[in-house]
Amino acid sequence: MLGLKLFKLRGGVHPEGRKQLAAEHGIRSLPLPAELFIPLQQHIGAPATPVVKVGERVLKGQLLAAAQGAVSAPVHAPTSGTITALGDHVAPHPSGLPVPTITLTSDGAEQWLEAAGCATPLELAAEEIAAQVAAAGIVGLGGATFPAALKLNLSRNSGVQTLILNGGECEPYLTCDDRIMRERAPQIVEGIQLIARAVAADEVLVGIEDNKPQAIAAMQAAAQGSSVQVVVMPSMYPMGSEKQIIQVLTGKEIPAGGRPADIGVLVHNVATAYAVQQAIRYGRPLISRIVTVSGGAIKTACNVEALVGTPVQALIDFADGYAQPTARLVLGGPMMGQQFTHTGVPVVKGTSGVLALTASEIGQAEPSPCIRCTTCVRACPVGLLPLEMAAHIRASDLTGAVALGLKDCIACGSCSYVCPAHIPLVHYFNYAKGDLAAQERAKLKLEATKKLAEDRTARIARIERERAEAAARRKAAREAKERAAKAAAESEGAA
């Protein structure tokens, strides 16, 4: 299977991997935390709606909040216990803003909800697989957290030629996918087969970077005799980005503004495949995930299986705390992860890593002027001109930046990583994207309120008119009456 032809990735960078910190530490379960903070929104789309009340006792795996709308995912109880609050808790988000959260106080019993499961999952119908994936609240575990079932349904309708399982894990430090592939390869392969069945894929490829030889070996052994092909890809960032892994494995590009389904491709993370297998074979919803705790400031880097809702502090404690002064705490990988300051933030479905980085690891420096060295142009995997886009945004010309392809930027951070002037290029791009979205919202609101104002003016005019008409009618009626009375009087008089 190694003979499969690979295609070239444009641009890309080679950040120092630093995966050795955690790679050899097997997955361990975290001790059960006393309190879990389960945000209602852990996915792209509408937040889930709570279906439990404060004081209610719930079992492990029980539905806490149901999906709401077309793009959403339900949330389940990570352990048994009592709901102690429905309120706001600090979100795992750089803004540090609160997010509606269910607080669950565990009772330590870890009592599972009776789950049906399925002993012969590979005989299930495609629709049934997708429905169960949706019910289990599975989202893309690679970090994008797009509801997985939605992708399955979308792809089944449009037909899938190539199903790609993303085992790239190109972010430095992170080893959670590496470990899950090493330790749970058979389950992953079964999950892959379930996904392939759900979308009727012709070809199934598992792309793994060549810096994970043990994971490759484990996956190859597990895939023996199945239609699942393990493909070894060169280590390069951002190999694990959806657009890039498709390009490298198939040579195809997703049309601008489109989805992988447009070119007959579906991409899922290997950890998502594991979650699918757990959901369908054992009826277990997505309530935990593998998280890498690493970074130069962490004492004992490790990979843990943490329940959704576990405060990050518990993970740091499990890794024996800090060994060195921490300059920055990051959720996710260093290239695209988000800084956080409050260690009470919970682990959510999309949390792949908790990093405590030292100042030297971050390598931050004051930005200096751009010398147009075009290192960023060479690093951009999308073929953009980061230096030109940033110059336009700096001069508040967001439209100019859009014309240069701002909306095609995948925010991988390669340009910022290599910039010798330390210009926060991707920060400029995300600022511009956010500002443009805000402008778009403001425009929509303006249109809506304008319509309301027009309606009101029309209504007031109508009421006035009707009032006038009614007055005219009354007057006419009165006059007619008077005339009639007069006429009657006259006729009487005449008579």
Binding site: Q41, A91, H93, P94, S95, L97, V99, E366, P367, S368, P369, I393, R394, S396, P424, H427, Y428, N430, Y431, K433, G434, D435, A437, A438, Q439, E440, R441, A442, K443, K445, L446, A448, T449, K450, L452, A453, E454, D455, R456, T457
Partner: protein, 176 residues
């Protein structure tokens, strides 16, 4: 000499007639720009710009006597739309600073007088007589009319709270 005079006269009068005919044939009622600008403006007739309603503001904008930043409810998006329509540079520096606002009813002191409800140009206030009113945020343009008429100072404009959905990265600080 004579030929020159005649030819110029003929030329001039022909062109003059042509112009006169064109002026009648292609006449435009009013300034189309005013109508187009009015179509862009919020249309809530709030009067914050100092002109009597959006039509007056549109006229002033078309005449070039008012800046494109005149409309607070329109926000930055409107400034940019106006600047594009009029072909002028928009100075967004002043606009950026103003925080987007929304009216909010303090329920403890609302007496349900319906004054705000009646004056709201976008029907953004819900309520009835003797009942506490509330503001439908999505429809509020922060024109401030309700604030003016409220007898108990219960309706106040407040900055729109930032949520996870509306939050976005600020522009990077420039060191150089």
């Amino acid at each position: 000499m004579l030929i020159a005079i005649i030819s110029l006269t003929v030329l001039g009068s022909t062109l003059g007639l042509l112009l006169g005919y064109a002026a009648r044939r292609l006449a435009v009622e009013g300034n189309p720009l005013v109508a187009e600008i009015q179509a862009i403006l919020p249309g809530s007739q709030c009067g914050q710009c100092g002109f009597p309603g959006c039509a007056g503001a549109a006229q002033a904008l078309a005449d070039g006597t008012a800046p494109v930043t005149l409309c607070p409810p329109g926000g930055r998006a409107l400034v940019q739309a106006l600047a594009a329509k009029l072909g002028v540079e928009a100075d967004l520096s002043g606009v950026q600073d103003s925080v987007p606002m929304v009216a909010e009813v303090k329920e403890e002191i609302c007496i349900g007088c319906t004054r705000c409800f009646k004056i709201c140009p976008t029907d953004a206030i819900l309520g009835a007589a003797q009942q506490i009113h509330s503001v439908f945020r999505e429809a509020c343009t922060a024109c401030g009319k309700c604030e003016e008429v409220c007898p108990t100072e219960s309706v106040k404009l407040q900055p729109i709270p930032v949520t996870l959905q509306s939050w976005h990265w600020k522009k990077p600080q420039e060191a150089v």
